[in-house]
Structures are given as structure tokens and as C-alpha cells.
């Protein structure tokens, strides 16, 4: 999160002409793009990244439809997009399962689909999926917490969790990764509140969580954007006793980790740079090319980005990825 809207250069990647054949302008590719209406930083970054990445290619025509509040609205927007017959459609669905049928419809109509972030259950519904690792995020956050608790010698830590929008399946997956890993280490989540990925909901839920748990050893917050509110709540309640782990990897969060003056000690990534990658892959798919470093002639079916843990030690490396 930052006050300036432009994506940092690092989140897009102009393909280096020297790196191989893929950089050279090829056949013209029309890429349609759709993501849900952004009401918070991460989603906003997805759209801006995709746009910016497309702009780096002279052979890509980029058509974006933004679409409203729910899956039905997105489906309607996508069908107008499909009717314009692009070569590839890159979409971040509201919900992978809900838009699975659209993927099938598009693939049947001969339009290649690149799914971003929220998996389609049906393998015929997409050409390629670029996914973040929600479960892995929970695992990474839990691992960091376990490591820290062990290091501090806390045997039965009080662990809190501020989740994102609870009705989204991805939130459930993240929480499951977190609690599975904690359980394996003999720990449990003492209290969990679900916020709505917004700063004010983060503040509100965190302030209530703090009431419920008079002492906390570790706190995982799913989303760095709502984390601004969580940190504000900690600050307002004057509670600094715990370590806090964030999620997604916003610039703001990485800077805070680097500064090391707040309970936020780490964040587990879920980078919106995946949108840029998806656009690059879509271009290659449209042109029938493969990934330069891979032996295969075509782009692979699925790419799952790993969730990395940013701490004070490696924060400098990640700062440029912060959104």
C-alpha cells in the first residue's frame, strides 16, 4: 500500500531483449482481462500491474473489463468480453468455482483462459493457472510463529488470528494452513476474528480481539492492508507484548518490518505481481511460445507461487515487490 497509485517498476517486468526470443515482438495478441472491483490495495494492485505489464509489450492489445460486486456481474462482463473474441482471457474470478463454467465456455469457444489466483476445479476450464498459495501462506505464518515461540521458550502461547473476509474460500484455506501447522506443533489458535480486508474493519476486529485476549504472544493478520488498522488498534490499546505476522506483503508492511519499531515482525507473501506474470504468460500462449528457461515448448498448465516469509533480515530484497 502506498499513497501513489502507480505500480513500482519491480512488479512488472519488461522482458529483456537479450534474454531470448520471447522479447522480440511477435504476432499480435488480444488479451482480455477481468478482475473483481477493487476495494482494497491488493486487488487494486492486481489490475494496475496487469495493465502496466501489458503496456510493456508492443504486440499486446489489452482489453479490460472491470466487473462489479459479485460473480454474476463478472460473468456478464466476461460474456461481453468473450463476444469480442480476444485471443486470451486473463481473469481473476470472484470465486473459481462460481466462474468455472465460464472458463469452460470460453475454452470451448476457442479462447485460451489464464486463471489468476482462484483455481477452477475443472481442468478443462483453463489453459494455465497462476495461483498464489493460500494454504502455504497459513503454513508459512504458522512456521514463523512456531519458530519464534520456540526461540522465546513459550510453551503454551496465546495465538490470535485476524482473518480476511470470512465468506471467501481463500480465507478458509489460509486459516486451515495456519491451524493445521500450529496443531502439528502442539499449538492452537486462541481466538480468531474475521475482518473484511479493509483498514477500519481490521482496526475494529483487532480491538475486540485484544479485549478477548488480555495477553497475546503471537498474532497473524491475513492481509497487510487491513493490517494498518490492526496495528492502529494495537497502538491505541497500548499492546506491544506480542509478535505479529502479516500477509500479502505490502510496501507499508515491509517498511515497518525493516524499521522494527512495531509488533509486526514478519509478513508472508501473496504478491499481486502474479498479475504481471499472468499477462506475460498469456502473451506467450497467444503466440504459441514456451517459457525461455524451460525445456518445454509451451507454457505449463499451472504455476503456483510460493509464499515467502519476509523478516527484518530479507526485507530489503522484497521492498521493491511491495504494493
Amino acid at each position: 500500500t502506498s499513497n501513489e497509485a502507480a505500480p513500482t517498476a519491480a512488479q512488472t517486468k519488461a522482458v529483456d531483449a537479450a534474454a531470448g526470443g520471447n522479447a522480440a515482438p511477435g504476432e499480435k495478441v488480444v488479451i482480455g482481462f477481468s478482475a473483481p472491483a477493487a476495494d482494497h490495495g491488493w486487488l487494486a494492485a492486481i489490475t494496475t500491474n496487469a495493465k502496466a505489464q501489458a503496456a510493456t509489450f508492443s504486440d499486446v492489445e489489452f482489453k479490460s473489463v472491470e466487473s462489479g460486486s459479485d460473480a454474476a456481474a463478472q460473468r456478464a462482463a466476461l460474456s461481453t468480453l468473450l463476444a469480442q473474441k480476444p485471443n486470451v482471457i486473463v481473469l481473476l474470478p470472484h470465486d473459481g468455482k462460481e466462474l468455472n463454467s465460464f472458463g469452460l465456455e470460453a475454452m470451448t469457444a476457442g479462447v485460451q483462459v489464464v486463471n489468476l489466483d482462484r483455481a477452477f476445479p475443472d481442468r478443462r476450464a483453463y489453459r494455465t493457472q497462476v495461483l498464489g498459495d493460500n494454504y502455504g501462506m497459513g503454513v508459512a505464518a504458522a512456521n514463523y510463529v512456531i519458530e519464534q515461540m520456540k526461540a522465546k521458550g513459550v510453551a503454551a502461547p496465546v495465538i490470535g488470528e485476524i482473518a480476511g473476509m470470512d465468506e471467501l474460500e481463500l480465507t478458509q484455506t489460509r486459516s486451515k494452513g495456519f491451524s493445521d501447522t500450529l496443531t502439528a506443533a502442539g499449538f492452537t489458535v486462541a481466538n480468531r476474528r474475521a475482518a473484511r480486508f479493509t483498514v477500519d474493519s481490521g482496526q475494529q476486529e483487532a480491538s475486540q480481539l485484544l479485549q478477548a485476549l488480555p495477553k497475546i504472544d503471537a498474532l497473524w493478520n491475513h492481509d497487510d492492508d487491513q493490517g494498518i488498522g490492526v496495528l492502529a488498534a494495537l497502538n491505541q490499546a497500548n499492546r506491544k507484548e506480542m509478535i505479529m505476522v502479516g500477509g500479502a506483503g505490502s510496501k507499508q508492511a515491509i517498511e515497518a518490518i525493516q524499521a522494527d519499531d512495531s509488533p509486526l515482525k514478519a509478513t508472508v507473501t501473496y504478491s499481486p505481481s502474479m498479475a504481471s506474470s499472468a499477462i506475460s504468460l498469456a502473451r506467450l500462449i497467444g503466440q504459441g511460445k514456451g517459457l525461455g528457461d524451460l525445456v518445454e515448448l509451451q507454457v505449463p498448465k499451472e504455476i503456483v507461487l510460493s509464499s515467502e516469509t519476509i523478516t527484518k533480515d530479507n526485507a530489503a530484497d522484497y521492498l521493491k515487490f511491495g504494493f
Binding site: 472491470e66 462489479g68 461481453t80 463476444a83 468455482k97 463454467s101 465468506e167
Partner: protein, 339 residues
């Protein structure tokens, strides 16, 4: 002559009811056409392709279909003097309930049955709380909104539940004579709603109960029972919508049909339904839904950003109602001209 507010109001009163609603709906149809024309002007290359135009019209109709069905039920509730904030939540609960593994094991019939029974049952609870518990409809259905979404989340374990019934999913993907089944369902519900409102004793009671409940009661109408039935009817529509939405998404989820209550209420009001009850038309409500769907479509084909969309959308809503309001008089005159 300066026309004061009162005078305008009076004028409206003097217009024969049927003439009034017909002219009101004509204006709405005009707005709809204007929106399509704007589409054609801004995207001439797309509108040049007649196959595309046809598919675009179908896509608007499909987009409108689910909210349309919900709005028909909502229109009855509002005409009857109530409001139902829980429609979106009922759709979600019915959708989730009908896509549990257990329900799906009974096949498409079982799923449809479940959705409809759940819809009606929740509607009856709303109606009971309002009629016999004497709760304000706003509060009763707001509470139901919260509770039903909670129940839907707990049934689904907050997972998206995939519908594996080809029959159900086919509702969204199959076409009959080139027109998707979803559109037929909307048409059927709208026609049934129209007949029910205009041609049956149930419809007459609805207008009476919403227009003057005390008068209705003293004329021997069982106002409480009728109110219950209205919410059950809205629930039934939500059950049908749940199946349609599940078919479209080939899945159901506790967060589905989010804020449909606002869409449905707004469409009904734009369509000329009085929020205070006693007056409204099905045709108007359906036109209201179509207008909203067309606006969404217009934005999509022009690739407007969501924030620009929202700003313009607010403006269009206001403009649509204003046009309706100020053009009203002159059109009304046409219809009430004495021979």
C-alpha cells in the same frame, strides 16, 4: 402558471390508475431504449454485428434474470406494505442448502425442491415475525438477513459447493429456440406475478393490505395471514432465484446474491412501486431490473473502470427517476385526453 409540488401531486392523482402506470412504464421503456442507443453510439463496431447485438441482448436478459425473479417477489411485499431485506440471504441459504452433498444425492428434483422449500420456510418465518410478532418488517428481515447468511455459512462450512447436477447447470447453459432457459424462467415468473397481482383475489388483497391495512381488515380480509403469505411468496421467488444462480455459477456459496436486496428494492421503486405500499406494477419492476442490467452491460462493453461506473450509475439512477417524474405529466395527458 407555476406548478407547485402539491399541484403536481394532485395531477397525478387525477390520472386514471391504469393510464398512469402504462405511461410510467412507457417512460421506463424509453429510458431502456436510450441506454441501448448510447451503447450503439459508443461502440458502433460492436453494434454493427447483428449476431453480437443479439447475443448482447441475451446476455443482458440473463444478467437480469435472477434479480428479476427476486424483484417480482419483492414487488408484492412492498405493494403489501412491507419490505424484505433478507432476499439475498434467502437466495444464499436456499442455494447452499440445495447443493450440500446430501441434497445433491437426491438429484436435480431434490435440489429444486429443497431450494423452494427453504425459500418458502424462511419467508414464512419472516411473515410470522412481522404479522404475529408485530416486528417492523425492516428489523425482522434485517435480522433474518444476518441469521440466514450465518446459517448458510455454517452449512457450507464457508466453502463454495459445486453443483454436479448437469440438469441444474444446464438451466444456465441450455438454450431453447436460441434463448437461454433462464430468460424463460424470468418471463414465466413475471407473467405469473402479473396475473397474480392483476387478475386474482390474492393480488387485490395485496393492494388493499398495503394501501390501507385498517380498511382491509374491516372489509373482512385477514391482514395477518395475507402478510405472512406475501413474505412466503417472496421466499418462493428467492428459492427459484437460488436455483437459477446456482445453475449460473455451477455452485453455491454463503456469500452469493450479495446485496440483492438493494438491487431488488431499487428496481421496484424505479419501476414505480410506492415504498409506502398500495401501489406498484410487475411490468415496471421488470423494466427497472432490465435498466440496471443494461447499465451494467453498457459499462462493461465500454470498459469503464469500476469507480467511473459507480459515479455514472448514481447519475443515471437519478436521471431516470427525474425524467420519469417530469416527463410524466405530459405523457399522462396523452393518455387521459378526453375525446
Amino acid at each position: 402558471m407555476t406548478a407547485t409540488a402539491l399541484e403536481t401531486g394532485r395531477k397525478r392523482l387525477w390520472a386514471g390508475e391504469s393510464g398512469e402506470s402504462v405511461s410510467r412504464n412507457l417512460i421506463l421503456a424509453g429510458v431502456l431504449v436510450a441506454l441501448l442507443v448510447i451503447g450503439a453510439i459508443t461502440q458502433p463496431q460492436l453494434y454493427g454485428d447483428s449476431a453480437w447485438v443479439w447475443s448482447n441482448v441475451l446476455s443482458i436478459l440473463q444478467l437480469a434474470s435472477v434479480v428479476g425473479v427476486v424483484t417480482v417477489g419483492m414487488t408484492f411485499v412492498i405493494i403489501g406494505g412491507g419490505i424484505d431485506l433478507s432476499v439475498g440471504a434467502i437466495v444464499a441459504l436456499a442455494g447452499v442448502w440445495s447443493t450440500t452433498l446430501a441434497t445433491q444425492s437426491f438429484g436435480a428434483g431434490g435440489m429444486i425442491f429443497t431450494a423452494i422449500v427453504v425459500g418458502i420456510a424462511v419467508g414464512l418465518v419472516n411473515g410470522f415475525l412481522i404479522s404475529y410478532g408485530k416486528l417492523v418488517p425492516f428489523i425482522a428481515t434485517l435480522a433474518m438477513l444476518v441469521a440466514a447468511r450465518g446459517l448458510a455459512a455454517s452449512i457450507s462450512g464457508k466453502q463454495t459447493q459445486i453443483s454436479s447436477s448437469d440438469l441444474i447447470n444446464g438451466i444456465a447453459s441450455t438454450k431453447l429456440l436460441g434463448i437461454p432457459i433462464l430468460v424463460y424462467i424470468l418471463a414465466a415468473v413475471a407473467v405469473a406475478g402479473w396475473v397474480l397481482l392483476n387478475r386474482t383475489t390474492f393480488g387485490r388483497r395485496t393492494v388493499a393490505v398495503g394501501g390501507n391495512p385498517e380498511a382491509a381488515r374491516l372489509a373482512g380480509i385477514n391482514v395477518k395471514r395475507h402478510t405472512m403469505l406475501l413474505y412466503a411468496l417472496s421466499g418462493l421467488c428467492c428459492g427459484i432465484a437460488a436455483i437459477m444462480l446456482t445453475a449460473q455459477a455451477t455452485s453455491a456459496q454463503a456469500a452469493m446474491a450479495n446485496l440483492y436486496e438493494l438491487d431488488a428494492i431499487a428496481a421496484a421503486i424505479i419501476g414505480g412501486t410506492l415504498l409506502s405500499g398500495g401501489r406498484g406494477t410487475i411490468v415496471g419492476s421488470v423494466l427497472g431490473v432490465l435498466i440496471f442490467a443494461t447499465i451494467t452491460n453498457l459499462f462493461a462493453i465500454n470498459g469503464l473502470s469500476t469507480e467511473a461506473q459507480n459515479m455514472v450509475k448514481g447519475g443515471i439512477i437519478v436521471a431516470a427517476v427525474l425524467v420519469q417524474q417530469f416527463r410524466f405529466q405530459s405523457v399522462t395527458r396523452l393518455f387521459n385526453r378526453k375525446p
